[in-house]
Symmetry: none
Subunit: 430 residues, 2 copies
Amino acid sequence: MRMKKAHIISIGNELLIGDTINTNAAHIGQRLTHFGIVPEQIFTIPDEYSIIKKRIGRSLVHADVTIVTGGLGPTHDDITKKVVAEIFESRMVSDELVLKHIKKIFSDRGFTLSPSNIEQAHVPEACTVLFNKQGTAPGMWFEKKGNYLAVLPGVPYEMKHLMENGVEPRLRSIFKDLNIRVTDYLKTAGIPESTLSDLIGNLEEYTNNGVGVAYLPNPGGVTMRLSAEGATKQVAEQKLVKLRKMVFDKSGDFIFARQRDKTLAEVVGSLLADKKLTIATAESCTGGMLSNEITDVPGSSSYLLGGVVAYSNSAKSQLLGVDGEVIEQFGAVSKPVALAMASHAAVRFGADIGVSTTGIAGPTGGSADKPVGTVWIGFFICGEHFALKTVFTNNRLVNKQRTVMVALETLRRHLLGINTYPYELKPHYS
Amino acid sequence: MRMKKAHIISIGNELLIGDTINTNAAHIGQRLTHFGIVPEQIFTIPDEYSIIKKRIGRSLVHADVTIVTGGLGPTHDDITKKVVAEIFESRMVSDELVLKHIKKIFSDRGFTLSPSNIEQAHVPEACTVLFNKQGTAPGMWFEKKGNYLAVLPGVPYEMKHLMENGVEPRLRSIFKDLNIRVTDYLKTAGIPESTLSDLIGNLEEYTNNGVGVAYLPNPGGVTMRLSAEGATKQVAEQKLVKLRKMVFDKSGDFIFARQRDKTLAEVVGSLLADKKLTIATAESCTGGMLSNEITDVPGSSSYLLGGVVAYSNSAKSQLLGVDGEVIEQFGAVSKPVALAMASHAAVRFGADIGVSTTGIAGPTGGSADKPVGTVWIGFFICGEHFALKTVFTNNRLVNKQRTVMVALETLRRHLLGINTYPYELKPHYS
């Protein structure tokens, strides 16, 4: 079967003038690639009738699949729906299910329905509605002479929802016998990109025949993308298996997930749930970010008992029971305070594990002795009691993020019995 | 002078398959807009000779200015330079200054110069070199029949450096008498996009002559972008002032900031600092997100005393002192529990203000009575005691975000004496 090509069309002046960064196109490109469909071009175009019409019209001829996002909102500048109705010479009809859904959303929230909201239930008769559970703008699916067109809202989580539940099942059933591309995202934490690539070394003998590795660094760690393709899934996966084995042999301890969307908090959460362990947090410099990431995971209430954001010294004493004299003597950013916060958090909440953070997030508050970026992270893990000291950057948000990453990655390695620490830090015992 | 149009061309397979998000195009779009040049389309295309040639060739005819990024590296798939040389029928010559610069970079780092590195100093004879202090790939500037083309490396900080020091000075001197464009970002919270646009109403009398309003929704609220242009900055600003006054008259209570990067937590933080008030949080369904956002603001330790993440019922009782029988009788997601969490948080931390959240974040845990998305937000503000009930979506992360937004926006309005509530919610008193 010949290669299938896709065009992605992103509509919106806000994208052109740089008000919004186009993350939607990247997500769609990723998903199409997964199905063996090549995203050949991305067009970002303004909310202008003639340009939208010309662009969609051309892509419908040149691409096997066209995915359009944006311009489906209730305001005057949202004209995508009118354009596709004209392209398909189709009259607008009100979709009963969509209208019911919109009415329910508004009545649940106690809002009044405006005429422009009711109009959101209108769709061109030629389309199949992609029902949007997450919002008021329905997605639309069209076919024209064996070419396919999906029109999706521009709100990222609505777009993702409709890709997953509307577009992807259709692509899977239409393009059954495409050249399959298999990809593995191996996510690491607590190791710099250069150290990781030195560890993996030269890959030339693996990376021919459509097999490759890319290093994708981001604030939460470095992700390795391994990919391979072949006429069948088996052929592609055979190629990938050899490469993956080598990468795991060399860097397995650092890899916390094999799915791109998986977070470190999810992985730690699963380990806690498996081992039936509970956790409590005591946060100073991270201000709630650690418990926030843990509670982003559905079901986290089964292992997170709670936390204290002990921002002031009196909160550290009164809510956590850290000895005020210890804070006085060593300072709030110190090993003894980090250790006490961790163990007291565990005791207060009756948890197996307590984790604490105390540091100077910045941009001010540092000293020669304790510069901005100095952080102590305390651990009380089923009786084992230690703290890590790190010095990060002078960027407040980066310091918060890295502290949370090191805390979670230390937990992960400890729960798995891996006896190294993130960034080769050394544990300080009490 | 007629409007000047620009095309932005982003080259690179990594952009198409979604490994990299195209932040470069947003930056370039912003800068062009500032100079009164309209970024009409963004094309993201693969590292393929024929596609690059066709695309640049077309844009050179259709756009006054074309900015190309990517494909200038030392590896085999970087072919942009060869393509432009062919378009301009120009032979390649080695640029002495660039070669010297590349040699210096390599000797400074102690690396050996490879043939492909030396080739980076080759440029088409027809171009003016845009000297790249930040890297080894030179930028290039071309002119063809009054149309302009800049070719820049794809590494974001190199691209920004060359935009600022190579491209922008040239645009400024070539397009001296372009219309100046001025922009205001008005950020709102607690009002749906459709309600806001109905409130502002028809803008026809304002939006001619290059004056416009755009609604940019995101999970934290809707931002209105007001823009105007004119032959001089004064003329443009006069147009904007009239529009801004009208928008403020109609929706001023909902506007929390006039700067694009300002967060609601920053605004509430400034109000607390001005009024010398302190705050404490008691979070259940938001799991620390509220205190996390508050502590993203530098200096927040002066007003945030701390918080409790009371995820389990026993944490609500033991750490916050909420009556266990009240939880038993009304359930954890209820008005009495939200009220008690808020006042107890204030008392425990000795703060003037206590804010609480308790709800069903989802995706599971709902009932007919209390569906997923049901949230109670409690307030204890200098003795005033009330709670708001909302029903959001079935998306866990969106529910957390919206809860935090409503909590902060309620505080903002209360501290400013605005007597409405986000989303027209009604306060429930004890």
